[in-house]
Symmetry: C2
Subunit: 331 residues, 2 copies
C-alpha cells in the first residue's frame, strides 16, 4: 500500500493540514515543521494521490487530446510535441483517436469530459453546435478549425494554397485542379475556398475534383478524373492523396513533373522518400502541438487570454521534384 497523507502526518507528528500546506504552500508553515514533514515524506516515499486531490480541487492535472487519426503522421507529430510540452507543465495527456468518425469525436469528448481539466481538440468532422455544446464550459483549444469564438490554432491554409498556386503559375501552369478531401472537413473547405479565390486572382483556371477519402486509395480513385480534366497541375488535399495520384498517373504512363505537376499538404515522411519526391505545403507540427498546450495551460490558470484567441501558424511550401514547368502542349 502506498503511503497516504495520514501516514506522513503521523510520522511527522503534525496534522494532515500541515502536511498539505507544507507541500502546497511551504511559506505558510514554520521551517521546523516543514522540515519534519519533508523528512517524513522522504522516508515514506510519499507522493500525493492525484485522484484524491482532483476530487477536492476539481482539477485532475490531466488534459484530453483528441485527434482524428493518430496513425496520420501529421497528427502523430502534433501529439508528440504536445506530449513533450505537457510534461513540462506536469500535465498528463489522455489521448483519444476518433477514427475520423464524427459520432466518435463527440462520444469521446463526452466520456472524457469528467476526467480532464480541459481539451485540445482536433475534431474536423463533428458539427459546430454539437461540438460547442458537448464541451460545456470546459476550457477548450481547437486545432485546425474555427468554431464561434473558441480559442483556436490553425495552420494558414489560405496562404499555403496561395504559395502552391503562385509556384505553379510561375512554372507556366494555367489550368490547375484541386482534389478535395472529406466534404465535412473544415480544413478542406478552407482550402477549397482559398483555391477558388487565389486561382481567380492569378488568372488561373481552377478545376475541382473529389471529394475523396484522405488516403492513398482516394488519390488513386480520382486520378483518372483529374487526367480527363486536362490540367497540367494538381493540388491535393493532402500528401497521401498526392501520392495516390502520382501512383495511378504512373500506371497510365503520365509522369510527374514532365506531364503533370503534383503538390500535396502536410509534408509526411513518405513525401520526401518517393520518386519523384512530392512538393508539399508543410505545416509546423511541433509549433502546433506546443502552442495548443500553452494556450490551454493559460486557460486553465485563468490567465485569460482575450476570448477568441486565434493563433495562426505559417505554412511553408517545400518544393521537390514533383513540380516542374508546364508542358508545352496539354496531353
Amino acid at each position: 500500500m502506498a503511503a497516504t497523507i495520514k501516514d506522513v502526518a503521523r510520522l511527522a507528528g503534525v496534522s494532515q493540514s500541515s502536511v498539505s500546506r507544507a507541500l502546497a504552500a511551504p511559506d505558510q508553515v514554520r521551517p521546523a515543521t516543514r522540515e519534519r514533514v519533508e523528512r517524513a515524506v522522504a522516508q515514506l516515499g510519499y507522493e500525493p494521490n492525484r485522484i484524491a486531490r482532483g476530487l477536492s480541487t476539481g482539477r485532475t492535472g490531466t488534459i484530453g487530446f483528441l485527434v482524428p487519426d493518430i496513425a496520420n503522421p501529421l497528427f502523430a507529430g502534433i501529439v508528440k510535441a504536445a506530449q513533450r510540452r505537457s510534461r513540462e507543465f506536469g500535465l498528463a495527456v489522455l489521448l483519444a483517436d476518433s477514427d475520423e468518425e464524427p459520432a466518435t469525436e463527440l462520444d469521446l469528448i463526452r466520456t472524457l469530459t469528467k476526467q480532464v481539466d480541459g481539451f485540445v481538440l482536433c475534431a474536423p468532422r463533428a458539427g459546430d453546435d454539437e461540438l460547442r455544446s458537448v464541451c460545456g464550459d470546459l476550457p477548450v483549444v481547437l486545432l485546425n478549425r474555427r468554431v464561434g469564438q473558441l480559442p483556436s490554432i490553425i495552420f494558414d491554409n489560405a496562404d499555403g494554397i496561395r504559395q502552391a498556386l503562385a509556384h505553379l503559375a510561375a512554372l507556366g501552369h494555367r489550368r490547375v485542379a484541386y482534389v478535395a478531401g472529406p466534404r465535412t472537413s473544415w480544413v478542406n473547405r478552407e482550402r477549397l475556398r482559398a483555391f477558388r479565390a487565389v486561382a481567380a486572382g492569378l488568372g488561373l483556371e481552377g478545376v475541382e475534383a473529389g471529394n475523396v477519402s484522405p488516403d492513398f486509395e482516394g488519390g488513386v480513385a480520382v486520378a483518372d478524373l483529374v487526367l480527363a480534366a486536362g490540367v497540367t497541375a494538381v493540388i491535393a488535399y493532402n500528401d497521401m492523396i498526392g501520392l495516390g495520384l502520382a501512383s495511378r498517373f504512373g500506371a497510365r504512363g503520365v509522369t510527374a513533373p514532365g506531364d503533370v505537376s503534383i503538390i500535396g499538404f502536410d509534408d509526411i515522411p513518405a513525401s520526401a522518400l518517393v520518386t519523384p519526391a512530392l512538393t508539399t505545403v508543410s505545416q509546423p507540427k511541433d509549433q502546433c502541438g506546443r502552442a495548443g498546450i500553452d494556450l490551454l495551460a493559460d486557460l486553465l490558470n485563468d490567465r485569460d487570454r482575450p476570448s477568441g484567441t486565434r493563433t495562426s501558424l505559417p505554412a511553408r511550401l517545400i518544393v521537390r521534384a514533383s513540380t516542374g514547368p508546364a508542358p508545352a502542349t496539354v496531353r
Copy 2:
C-alpha cells in the same frame, strides 16, 4: 455545474445508494425503482464522476500506455488499435511518449503510476531492474520485450529473421549483412541473436554492421560500410534504416535489387510507396495493440492468466521489389 448522484437521488425520490445500485447492479433493485432512477438520470444528463468513483473503488478506469515514439508508424498503429479496444472496455488511455529516452521512460511511469489501473509498456530502453521496481505491483503488460515473468506480448523476431534469411538464401545470396539498431534495444538484441543462429544454420556468411539510430539517417550513415563488406543482401533493423540504405546505395550507383537486396522490418507505409518498394518483415500492429489491452484487462479483473503469460505474434515476410536474385559476381 454537472449533476451529481445526490441530484439524481433527490429527483427520483430515492437514496444515493439506490441510484448507485440501479446503475451498477440493475438487477438488485426493483424494476419500478430502476425506472425512476433512469428517468432522473436522463432528465439531468447525469454521468457518474469517474474521479470520485476512482477514489472509493481504488480504480480509475484509466490505463497508461507508454511508447518510445508515437511518430513511428509501428507504434502509432499499435496505439491506434489499443485505443479502439480500450474504448470497448470503457477504459481511457493515458498516452506517454518517452522520446526513446530510458530516463524518460521510468520518469513517465513513476508520475503516471498513481492515476492508472495498469500499464501497457513499450519501453525498450530502460533497464530490467528499474523497470520492474518502478511498476511496483501495478498490473503491467510488456510489449515487444521480456523482463522476468512479467506478462508480455512480442512479435516473433526470430521467425521474422528466419523468413528473411530463407528468402535471401533461396535467391542465391551467400553473404548477408545485418544492420543493427540501438544497442540497448531488446528487440535489436533478439534479432541479432536470431540472425547469427539462423545464418549459421543456413550456411550463410553473416556480417554485422551498426549500431545506428533507427531512422533514415542511420541507414544513410552505415550504407558505405555495408557496401565495403561485400555483401549481396542486407537486413535492416527497421524500414527507416532500410530506406536510408537504399537511398545512399542509389547515390553510389548501386541499385536494388540488381546489385544488392534489402529487407527491412515493420512494414511502415513508406515502404510500399518508394521505388523499388521495400521487402519487409511485417508485424501485426493491430493484433498487438488489441492483445495488449485484452491481457491487461484480464489482469485488472483478477481474471488471472497464469503468471508469465507470453503471447507471441507471428511475423510475416512481405516480398516487394527490393529483393531479387543474387548478382552473379559480387561488386
